[in-house]
């Protein structure tokens, strides 16, 4: 099981199970056959490499993508993208999307009757800098109902998609906000068995980066699989 030539598996409890019945959509869509474990050399595809030309003005300011300002609590979200050694992942593509302050997504399948905001699209993207830092301005998303079970509500969250150095560094996840009482009730958040791993998806109120009379800030770091010096996961825990 611990053959060092094989792809490392996640630390137990730190990743959700594919099949998690409390999250009803997982029941018919998650594989039930055993996943096949490959040798590391068969997973060492690198790239893609994204460049600055992919990023347009206002892609990291979701409050500035329309003529007027969106309704809601203006916030800064920032943090670092790190590898398993705690080193910065530079030029990582970070993509984000979220509901508006009323909990409504600008998407055709969102039928919640909270109002759309004509000044908010809810999508953004950026590349990390040389210290692995990212930052964007937005409004705090609202919680919203969904059909998973009776009276189901998602805690406020921002979706993140990240590309690191290789195939195994790819990550799609969600960032949550501190002190949200909906988190203990949410099957998606609670699909992660390990409590500390769940807490690492919760951002931190950051008064140092908050701007008086303007906006609060939240800080959230992401750790991607892999190590900068050995991007193909040759290192071991």
């Amino acid at each position: 099981m611990n053959d060092p030539s094989m792809v490392e598996l996640a630390v137990p409890g730190t990743q959700p199970d594919f099949h998690f019945p409390p999250y009803v959509s997982s029941i018919a869509r998650s594989p039930r056959m055993p996943l096949v474990r490959l040798q590391k050399t068969h997973m060492k595809l690198t790239g893609p490499v994204f460049g600055n030309e992919l990023i347009r003005e206002h892609d990291n300011d979701l409050t500035a993508q329309h003529n007027g300002e969106p309704i809601g609590e203006r916030i800064l979200v920032h943090g670092r993208v790190l590898d398993e050694d705690g080193k910065p992942v530079r030029s990582a593509l970070v993509e984000v999307w979220q509901a508006n302050a009323g909990g409504r997504y600008r998407h055709m399948v969102d039928t919640y009757d909270a109002p759309l905001d004509p000044n908010f699209s809810g999508g953004g993207r950026m590349l990390t800098d040389d210290q692995g830092r990212y930052w964007f301005k937005t409004v705090k998303p609202g919680p919203y109902p969904w059909r998973n079970h009776h009276n189901a509500w998602r805690p406020a969250h921002i979706h993140f998609s990240l590309f690191g150095a290789g195939i195994l560094s790819r990550l799609v996840t969600q960032m949550y906000f501190p002190g949200d009482p909906l988190q203990p009730l949410d099957p998606i958040f609670n699909s992660i068995p390990d409590e500390r791993a769940r807490e690492r998806l919760v951002s931190r109120l950051d008064m140092d980066r908050s701007e008086p009379n303007y906006m609060l800030a939240y800080e959230w770091d992401v750790v991607l699989r892999g190590r900068t010096d050995t991007p193909f996961e040759e290192g071991h825990r």
């Binding site: 959700p16 018919a28 996943l35 490959l38 999307w97 993207r125 979706h159 799609v172 825990r237």
Partner: protein, 189 residues
């Protein structure tokens, strides 16, 4: 064992149903019907769930073993798409299609037993972690000698092989079955 600086990778969460808002901008903009050159293939298929129902809200990413880098294009729009990478969405009936650089073997000229392939990442509502698969091209002779394919039971191996379209050179079909009869082989991560 763990050093002090060692960190546990962040947990995955589902892409959910609304990912177009943040991810659609990067979709492959090449027309699926137009083959640009001999160096590309066209791949299409359908994503299905346990009940054979189409998955109309899946996001697929294809990573080829061709050179993956930013290839400057003739105009700004082209240059935003790295070679060897495509992101596509399924449509209302779970179908996808893409044109992509023909994959090359891992180490061409060195190990002639390895078959070319693409790595495929599957994201969808209902998937708390993304799935990783591989797709091989059905008309490659080296499929018979490829060590990854040969490491998979014969009955499941076929789920990784895209079938060539006999009427059109360079066109292939490959379905992804998330669960149940004919379940596609996915790899552990």
């Amino acid at each position: 064992m763990s050093s002090d600086s060692s960190r546990i990778p962040s947990s995955s969460q589902t892409v959910g149903p609304y990912f177009r808002i943040g991810l659609e901008y990067l979709l492959e903009r090449t027309s699926a019907g137009a083959m640009e050159s001999q160096g590309t293939i066209e791949l299409c298929g359908q994503v299905l769930d346990r009940d054979g129902a189409p998955v109309p809200d899946a996001l697929l990413e294809f990573w080829t073993s061709a050179t993956v880098s930013l290839r400057p294009g003739r105009n700004a729009e082209q240059s935003t798409f790295p070679a060897g990478f495509r992101r596509v969405l399924t449509d209302g009936v779970g179908k996808y299609s893409l044109v992509i650089e023909r994959p090359a073997a891992d180490e061409p000229g060195e190990d002639r037993t390895k078959a070319p392939y693409m790595i495929v990442l599957v994201f969808a509502r209902g998937l708390l972690r993304h799935l990783i698969s591989r797709v091989y091209l059905g008309d490659e002779r080296t499929n018979k000698t490829d060590s990854v394919l040969n490491g998979i039971s014969e009955e499941r191996r076929a789920t990784l092989i895209a079938q060539p379209d006999e009427s059109r050179a360079g066109a292939y079909t490959w379905d992804i079955i998330l669960q149940g009869i004919g379940e596609t082989v996915f790899f552990a991560w």
